[in-house]
């Protein structure tokens, strides 16, 4: 036990003290947040002003297009295309819309927009929206004699409240948030398994190519070496994650202070983000989002996340270690041996995407119990509620299976590892690995 600790300590320190660890752990979130901030900053600052002339020769707009302050629509008469172009050249106008005589909204005729410089995608959409809205209103008025607002009130649907039999009201916001949190947690576990699993594999390969394995094995048991390595790298992962979480939370708090105007924009963006949010805004009950958030037991999610993080990591990292011990320097060799390990992980992601949509389906339940997929799938189901969506017995069974699963993969891997780490030369085949594990 003591030796496992000595090995784990070295594995941990040698990675944490590297400059690359510092970069990926601290700089990466800052860079991502910085980019995020910059994008928002520019989208706030560089809202273009457009002055657009409408040469409405067919009188389709009846002299009126609703524009916001960014898009000013000016109706012009008796102007030729040449004179409009001249005005663009003099920067009096940013562009013009030429509606030819005889243009009809009923036909499939197109309107062309000519501008001095290329118009960005967002602005294009805005211009198109303004013009189309106006056209739509004209059409409604002329053919049906109703206004746009009348149509809107007719089409407006009523929100349906969803509730479960036990009387708990579930709002849409909660379902949306559960979906988001579930998806994110499942995906995080998936990334964890891959990043730290391959880190373990590379560590084992490094020891093998450095030929240090035999030196170490003459002092400690192969199992101790493997477990020390897995523990050390797992600790690196945990520390890295905690730093990421802390950094994310602090940046979320401080970034808006640095860039004024970002708060509103992000709020606007968030409101537009999900259907759930929109209905919340419409019904004037922003509270429902807040209550949806408070309904989600973040304490439980976090503790389950740590459990499945560790359990899933232990289960897969020993398999990655076994593969690392069976190959030599060439990463190409590792690819083919990795396939059977990556398959269940990818399988888990596939089930997870189904599980977030229907967290109680048979496939989702199976996926969250089967130890090779449970870390990913269970984490996607838990935000939907324990014990509502995930009964306690399922959670307990899943955890027990995961522990048993990791004990057995570790046992098998240790046996492969013991032989593989001392083999040089050609890479082992599956048949050989099988023999090492069971003889």
């Amino acid at each position: 036990m003591n030796k496992i600790w000595i090995i784990a300590r070295r594995e941990f320190l040698s990675r944490v003290q590297k400059k690359t660890f510092l970069y990926t752990t601290i700089l990466l979130p800052i860079v991502i947040f910085g980019l995020y901030g910059l994008i928002i900053y520019f989208s706030v600052k560089t809202a273009d002003h457009f002055k657009i002339a409408i040469a409405d020769n067919a009188k389709v707009f009846v002299g009126k297009i609703d524009g916001k302050e960014d898009f000013q629509f000016v109706f012009v008469q008796n102007e030729s295309i040449a004179s409009l172009k001249e005005k663009i050249a003099k920067k009096e106008l940013d562009g013009y819309v030429w509606v030819p005589e005889g243009f009809s909204t009923a036909n499939g005729d197109t309107i062309s927009f000519v501008s001095g410089k290329t118009v960005g995608l967002m602005n294009r959409e805005q211009i198109q929206k303004h013009i189309n809205n106006s056209l739509e209103q004209q059409r409604l008025l002329s053919s049906l004699q109703i206004s746009k607002s009348q149509l809107d009130s007719m089409q407006k649907g009523r929100d349906i409240k969803f509730a479960t039999v036990d009387g708990k009201e579930e709002n849409d916001a909660k379902a949306g948030i559960s979906f988001g949190v579930g998806y994110a947690s499942g995906f995080l576990i998936y990334i964890v398994l891959f990043i730290y699993g391959t880190m373990v594999m590379r560590g084992v390969m490094e020891e093998k190519t450095n030929r240090i394995a035999e030196v170490i094995i003459s002092s400690v048991k192969p199992f101790q070496l493997m477990m020390g390595k897995i523990t050390g790298i797992g600790a690196v992962g945990l520390v890295q994650f905690i730093i990421w979480i802390v950094l994310t939370v602090t940046l979320r708090i401080f970034l808006p202070l640095l860039i004024p105007g970002m708060v509103e924009t992000t709020n606007v963006m968030n409101h537009g983000a999900t259907e759930a949010m929109q209905t919340a805004k419409n019904s004037g009950a922003f509270d429902s989002v807040m209550s949806g958030l408070s309904d989600i037991n973040f304490g439980l999610i976090l503790s389950c996340f740590i459990f499945y993080f560790i359990g899933g990591y232990l289960l897969y990292s020993s398999l990655f270690a076994a593969v690392g011990s069976a190959v030599n320097e060439d990463p190409q060799d590792a690819q083919s041996l990795l396939l059977p390990i990556t398959m269940p992980i990818i399988f888990g992601i596939v089930i997870m995407t189904k599980a977030v949509n229907d967290p109680t389906s048979g496939l989702a339940v199976f996926g969250s119990l089967f130890p090779l997929t449970s870390p990913i799938v269970m984490m996607a189901r838990i935000p939907f509620g324990v014990p509502n969506t995930v009964p306690y017995w399922q959670l307990a069974l899943s955890m027990i299976f995961l522990i048993l699963g990791f004990l057995s993969t570790t046992w098998v891997s240790a046996r492969i590892y013991r032989v593989g780490i001392l083999m040089y030369g050609k890479k082992a085949t599956w048949k050989e690995l099988w023999k090492w594990a069971w003889r």
Partner: protein
Amino acid sequence: MASILQLHNLKKYYATQKAVDDISFDIEEGNIFGLLGPNGAGKTTLLRMITGIFYPDSGSITFDGRPFDPENDIIKIGYMPEERGLYKKMKIGEQALYLAQLKGLSRSDAMKQIKFWFKRLEMESWWSKKVEDLSKGMSQKLQFVTTVLHEPKLIILDEPFSGLDPVNANLIKDEIYGLAQRGSTIIFSTHRMEQVEEICDHIVLVNLGKKILDGTVSEVKQQFKEHKFSIKLGSIPNGIDDAAYEVIEQKGNAFTMKINDGFQSNDVLQHFIGQGIMIESFNEILPSLNDIFIQLVNDTKSVSRAFN
């Protein structure tokens, strides 16, 4: 003297061949023991069983008077494998400290030992260098130090001098003698015979998984002597031939001769003395271990080690 290590009928079979096939021998405490054999003879497999890395398929190992218990006895063994290995990116001092701690030394003991050995082998300035900055010979020295740091009772060195210049090789050789004098037993695995002849007390030769020779260096040489002598005479005799010997080579008044069966060296001497010829020198030519090695290995070549 007591035996520190006894191997009894060790066997280790791989899928396709018998790597170690029924090998037994004893190693006495404080000896420098040579384990010889050509490439692929089974030396490494044998050493890995002695270091507890492999379990023998059958047979037993007695270490220090008790059955070998790898988990506890491993700290009394220092093993330097032929495939040298160190963490390239790790600082040398930390590396030595780490390996010593894995051998069960406490941090402070390890520190003391490292300081002692680094000073002794003039490596003090290396402490914060990385292994990748060292030359091959330097890392060899470091590897040796990490092997013997914990003053093990049994030290196993696989080709310890490969890659060392003569100065450093001598330095390490002196350390090996010193360790043996302080009571450590040393197993020395090599196929460099001149070193064996110089250093080892006792040798075992293995080939194709079997032991083919076991004895002290002088015993082995006696066993394989071919009754060859070199003799230098004051003058060249007229009639050189005699029933007692055969001349193999003649260079002026120096002769190399083989004494025929049924005769002794004194018969030769008497032959010349009887002729009144001055004898300036008379020496027995013992075969070199190298010759014995080549002869024995060639002899066993035809033996198959595959399963029948």
